[in-house]
Assembly symmetry: D2
Homo-oligomer: 308 residues x 4
């Protein structure tokens, strides 16, 4: 039985994601994304589940930067999890008594309208996770009156759910990924996604256009582009790319190795089945048999073979 | 005398930026970026200074999203401010007594090595701003022992500076922008930058490549590209662009209006002098006189004039 | 009544084209394309009809080069004329007597199969035009036995048509254009074509890609690209372009003036109704109202107007 | 000893080219380009030398079309030959007696100024080759008084050279290629050129841009692009491309096989040393070792290897 680290404590959305991705796995809650990934890196866990991006908040910077700078790991699966927030308090607390709310900044942002409407005077203090906030509230000596977090956190910490589904939008989704130590990639399924991080050799104008061309010329669609600062001053960025397809496929492999050639540094993060199972639309002339045929043809041309 | 709102409380890096950008201005500290911008929108302030990006942390999501979704404002100036962190505590506190540190997550990230090395057992709790953390520490009943923040915050809240310049890197810079209500743009200086937000009409593969081509074909260099989720589900993004030059220049104006045509929605955020004063390198055939000459030529061709 | 020069002598396909384009016009046969165009340039004729390209032979080099180097003229109309060849001989000549055929090289190429099959031993000598060949055959002292040319040439020179429609392909078409002195352009019809000649400022790799991008970024489709040597050594070319649309249209005008900016020299040859009357498909965001809207928006942005 | 066919008769520039390319070879003059190439195809000759383009006249259509449509052959060498024309007549003829000139149309074009100036009243009749014209003049019963052609033709046919170097430009160059039956390619030299013919699968707008991108994305420079009609109606073209480099090189091979994938049909015409011996400038990241490194890297990534 495998053991998977995740962004804890118990009761986070991340735990819910882990339960869905690997119901049988032993779960190892960690204080933050780095700790969860380090648990895999040092062999304490067989893998980890961490959030990568949120449909409202965007990329999770800590995860993006860990993938770029930390010891390499492989993404082997992804999951899209709807995010529903509840207002959680110690039993006996009533709505009108809530003066100080403890929650993660993302949850704060997503529940702003609810707070403004229902608890207008409340002060919101930021916690490092929604489950951590719930845990804090469970402490009777906490200076906070309520947490905003997933319903499951309320159950785990014996809190009362004063209100449910309080997010300003009810279609918020978080994308979680399961990572593993470097090793065999998941098999191509025809509905895959590949992730990578590209550093520019020299940060010239047009470098991004060149990188995108490596994909477009092989008919590979990008599904996510995220710039992150390299730390070397304003104006210096590196890029996270997600593209359709599996690196085992010829067009994806050629595009990624083209990007590798022109980049100063390219880190491959993995190829894995898409959560939405949408099959890759393959542009004419870019399917694996097309590449195989072209490679055979090229070999014959190089050998001076007779053409029809 | 003008009155400028900023991300408070007193003692933030943002205040330092404001003092540099407008030493004479009256200062109005606000609880967060939205509040500072709203002060301009509702006429309470004549302008505002807010952080836009950090060389280590990347774009400031709240600022980016306010610029994209909130009532429009104009960026009229920018400033690059080196960021130096100090460890701040109530007078009498000694280093070895520090168990709980309160600070903003970005400061936490940037001082991680110092903390691991000097105060290895400390728990770090996240505040909504570094100045707010200093303010909290100033309260003798605070559950926290020290804050990490700018030296100026220590002075304002009468804290002792236990250590200075404790960031893991000493070249961290934050880019602040000064915004104003819509109105006259700053004059072109030859070393300008323009900012905008582009929403895609339809999120097809290749849309980003098309947008970049609007710039490259007119010889306009991009200096920042940042994707942000639209909120309409994973995989749906809009983009912040910074480019070289001023919208009053022909090539920039044509590129931006080209982007406007192909985008579902384009919001222009302003043209303003670059903080680094680096003059725009103009590619042959794309200077204003080239555009003027070409427009005259086009007019003559449309009128069927004789060519040489 | 207008007087139009054409590639004579009487009986050429070019005369047929002229009759179709301008049935009422007085016709002035000229010895070659240059002479026909010169007749317009020096006021001897009000216009001219000359062949531009043939679906089998390609661009007519003399016309292309005259348009590029000679005194500028405007293309005001085009016509596609099916080309049908006949074998023409003096009355009394029989097929088996034909030993020497006189015709234009293009006609030779297009009737090669017929000749190989029907008159296998015949020697083919090249004339400067098919009608000129017919005229020569009419001379009883001609060393040639038959001409290949249009049926009309046989009628004019009182020759017998020994075989008709002898081309190897029966779908050969020649595109003729009517040119006029510089002056008012034909009105846009929604199904127009524009022609131009572009010289490169510096013949760097990628220059053609840049030129094509000027069209593609404005959604303008090219319908013909022809490279011609500049005469300055092998490897130095200039380009003829035909694109869809009329220079009076915003996207076409911007593309052509963009090309003008980046080219060392651009000569506009005219905008005129397409012979096939196929209306231009306009890509979203590139219609005239889109450009007008964007120009208005740009003006407002430059003036610092309030955006929604 | 090899036997090479060429565009005859004896005395053509093509013979001069052959003598330079292969001084030892036995020479087989042929009536036209097709015949010379057919001699190779049917084994009568071991190779052939034919003109491909002229710096003044452009591509030699018959050669281009033979390469595209005829039974495939390989280009194995190229030569740039300066073209100098002489006015040739039967001994005893004087300049003032010349009324009818016989020559190839290209020579006519290139000597137009001389003729207008020195023999203004002369009628020029078109021959199928300049050497053929000289041969004709040698016949005392010829209706023509002089030929324009290479000096060597005058020597061969015992004609008098009335004037030499009479071309309007003295830097005209013709590019000749030596072709061989399919077989081993010439070794890469670092200063090579590759030629090919591409037919479009579907003639959509943007198809040429796509083809050029296959080269540019791999850093391969094109040195010649020539469109030719497919014969399927006006507006339907195929393309001749020459690019820098040898198909044995990785970037060239990948570009050409990419073009093969997206084209309906691609015919490879050969890789051979450049006549001008200019070494290929290789863009960073596109040299053979870069491709080899990237291929190795790709293999490791596909196998899930540990990255640094």
């Amino acid at each position: 039985m495998s053991k998977l680290a995740y962004l804890g404590p118990e009761g986070t959305f991340c735990e819910a994601a882990l339960r869905e991705l690997a119901p049988e796995a032993e779960r190892l809650p960690c204080a933050n994304v780095r700790a969860a990934l380090d648990a895999v890196r040092n062999g304490e866990a067989d893998g980890a589940v961490v959030p990568l991006e949120n449909s409202l908040e965007g990329g999770i910077a800590q995860t993006l930067d860990e993938f770029a700078w930390g010891k390499p790991l492989l993404i082997v699966a992804e999951l899209l999890l709807p995010v529903e927030f509840s207002l959680l308090a110690r039993p006996g607390t009533e709505m009108r008594q809530i003066k100080r709310i403890f929650t993660h900044p993302a949850a704060h942002t997503q529940c702003r309208d609810f707070i403004d409407r229902e608890i207008p005077g409340a002060v919101v203090v930021h916690a490092s996770s929604t489950a951590g906030a719930a845990q804090e509230i469970a402490n009777p000596e906490s200076p906070y009156d309520a947490a905003i977090g997933p319903a499951i956190a309320g159950e785990i910490y014996d809190l009362t759910e004063l209100a449910s589904d309080i997010g300003d939008r009810n279609d918020t989704v978080t994308r979680f990924v399961r990572v593993a130590p470097p090793g065999e990639l998941p098999e191509p399924t025809g509905a895959d996604r590949s992730s990578m991080v590209a550093f520019l050799r020299d940060d010239h104008a047009g470098a991004l256009l060149e990188m995108l061309s490596e994909f477009s010329v092989r008919g590979v669609n990008l599904t996510r582009i995220e710039s992150r600062p390299t730390g070397d001053g304003i104006g210096s960025y590196f890029f996270h790319f997600d593209c359709e397809g599996h690196i085992a496929e010829a067009r994806v492999g050629e595009a990624i190795s083209g990007l590798h050639r022109i980049s100063g540094d390219l880190r491959f993060l993995g190829s894995y089945p898409r959560a939405d199972k949408v099959p890759t639309q393959i542009k004419r002339g870019t399917a694996d048999p097309d590449f195989a045929e072209a490679a055979g043809w090229l070999g014959r041309m190089r050998a001076g073979a007779v053409q029809r």
